[in-house]
C-alpha cells in the first residue's frame, strides 16, 4: 500500500469504512501522525459516519411464527373397541327394526288379501264363523220340537238358542223369542241382547221372549232394496246412538214377504248380513246377520224344520 498526499483521501475512507487490514490501518495511522495538517481532513471525513440510532420494531409478535404442527390423534384400542361395539349394536338395532317392519307389512298384506277375498260381503267371514259355531252349538243342544225361526246372538250362547218367529207372527215391530229359557245361568239370550242393547225389552208372555224393536222418527234409511222385509232397529243397530254414520242393510234373498202367502219351499238357505251400521261417535260397527234354512215341506222330521238365525254383533274400533 502506497499512501501519499495524492491518494490519502481514498485510504482515509477505506480506513473509516474498515475495509483495511490491520497492517494497512497501521500504515494509515502512521501517515496521519506524520502529516498533522491532514488531521482535520480526516476528522471531517470521520464526521460523515452515521451513528446508529436505537430503533425498535414493535410488536415483534407480528413477525414471529409457530410451527404448523399437524394434530395427530392417537389411536387407542379402547376407542376402536367402543366403535366396533357401537357399530354392531346399531346394526343389530336396524336389522331388528327392519325385520319387525317386514313382519308387519306381510301381516298387513295378508289381512288385505283376506279382506279382498271377502269383499263381496265385508263381514261374511265373521258371520260365517259365528254362524258355524252357533250352528254347531245349536245342533248339539237345540231341542227337536223347536218350530219357526230362531234368533241367535253373536255372543256365545251355549245352553239356549232363542227362536225367531216370522214377521207374520210378530205383532207390529216386535220380534218374539221362543225356545228353551234358562234363567240365572248367565247364558240367557235375552240377557245377552239386553247387554248388547239396553233398549231391548224381553216380554215374558206365553213362554216366549219378545224383542221389542224401537222405531223412531229418525229411522235410518235402508241401503238395500233387495229385501223389503229388512228392518232397522236404531237402538239395536247403533247401540243407543241416534245418528249412525253408515247404515247397510242386506237382507236374505228369499225371506217370506209380509202379508203374502209364500210357500215354504221358496225359502232358501242364506248367510248374509241383514243390517250393519257404522257409528263414528262410539267407534263401533253394529249389525246382525241371519240364516234361513228350509227343508222340504213333506219332511216332518225335526232336522228339516225351517230356521232363521239372527246374530247380533257389535265391533268397537
Amino acid at each position: 500500500m502506497d499512501i501519499n498526499r495524492n491518494n490519502y483521501e481514498t485510504f482515509f475512507l477505506l480506513y473509516l469504512d474498515k475495509e483495511l487490514n490491520a497492517a494497512e490501518r497501521m500504515e494509515v495511522e502512521n501517515f496521519l501522525s506524520a502529516h498533522a495538517d491532514l488531521q482535520k481532513e480526516f476528522s471531517r471525513l470521520q464526521h460523515t459516519i452515521q451513528r446508529p440510532m436505537e430503533t425498535v420494531f414493535e410488536p415483534k409478535e407480528l413477525l414471529y411464527r409457530r410451527e404448523e404442527k399437524r394434530r395427530v390423534i392417537p389411536v387407542y384400542w379402547t376407542r376402536i373397541a367402543a366403535a366396533i361395539i357401537l357399530i354392531l349394536a346399531g346394526s343389530w338395532f336396524i336389522i331388528s327394526v327392519l325385520k319387525n317392519q317386514k313382519t308387519f307389512i306381510s301381516d298387513k298384506e295378508q289381512t288385505i288379501a283376506s279382506t279382498d277375498s271377502k269383499k263381496s260381503h265385508p263381514v261374511s267371514g265373521v258371520a260365517e264363523k259365528l254362524n258355524q259355531s252357533d250352528q254347531k252349538q245349536s245342533l248339539d243342544k237345540e231341542p227337536a220340537q223347536e218350530s219357526s225361526s230362531r234368533l241367535v246372538s253373536a255372543n256365545p250362547v251355549k245352553s239356549a238358542v232363542p227362536v225367531y218367529k216370522p214377521r207374520s207372527t210378530v205383532a207390529g215391530d216386535q220380534i218374539q223369542y221362543s225356545g228353551e229359557q234358562k234363567s240365572g245361568d248367565g247364558n240367557d239370550p235375552r240377557q245377552l241382547h239386553q247387554q248388547v242393547n239396553p233398549d231391548l225389552q224381553i216380554r215374558e208372555t206365553t213362554g216366549e221372549a219378545v224383542l221389542v224393536m224401537q222405531k223412531s222418527n229418525a229411522t235410518p234409511e235402508l241401503q238395500t232394496s233387495l229385501n223389503r222385509n229388512a228392518e232397522v232397529a236404531p237402538g239395536l243397530l247403533t247401540g243407543g246412538v241416534k245418528t249412525p254414520s253408515l247404515l247397510i242393510a242386506v237382507g236374505g234373498k228369499n225371506l217370506p214377504a209380509e202379508n203374502e202367502n209364500q210357500q215354504l219351499t221358496d225359502i232358501q238357505t242364506d248367510n248374509a248380513i241383514s243390517v250393519i251400521a257404522l257409528n263414528d261417535r262410539n267407534k263401533s260397527i253394529t249389525g246382525f246377520f241371519k240364516k234361513l234354512t228350509k227343508r222340504t215341506a213333506g219332511d216332518e222330521t225335526a232336522d228339516n224344520t225351517k230356521k232363521l238365525r239372527v246374530s247380533v254383533f257389535q265391533f268397537s274400533y
Binding site: 481514498t10 469504512d17 474498515k18 471525513l45 452515521q50 411464527r65
Partner: protein, 160 residues
Amino acid sequence: MTVEDYNDCVKNYADGLFRFMLKSTRQVEDARDLVQSSFEKLWIHRAEVNAVKAKSYLFTIAYHTMIDLGRKNSRLEFRETLPDQMETRTGQPRLKDLLEKALGRLNERQRSLVLLKDYEGYSYEEIAEITGLNGTQVKVTLHRARLQLKEWLVSVENVL
C-alpha cells in the same frame, strides 16, 4: 432454515431492518410494511434460505422492495427541511441532526449504501450482494457519498 432460525432472525434483525427502512424512507408506516413484507417472504422461502444468509436476504428483499416502492411513490423524496425535533433547545443544530439532513441530500443509492455501511456494518462485498452492484461500484459510490457529506458539513460549519 427452521422455524427457530426464522424466529432468531426476527429477534436479531427486525430492529436493524426497520431502522434501515426508516432511515431510507423516513416513513414509519412504509418502513413497517417493508419489514413485514420482507419477513413474510423470508418465511415463505425459509426452506431455500440458509440461516447464515438470512440477514442479507432480508436486507436485499427490503432494499429492492423499497426501490420498487420509491419508483411508484414519490414519498421517498427526502425533505430538505429538518423536523422540528431535530432542533436543540438553543436552536443550534446538533451534529447528528446535521448528518440526518446531509443524508437526505444524497441520492437513493448513496443513502442506502451509507446506511448499510454505517448502520449494519456490511462490507463492500456484502453491500454489493444486497444492492446487486459490484464491489467497485459500491466503493466508488460510498466514497462519493462521503465526500458529498463532508462538503455539505463543511459548508454548514462555515455558515454556523
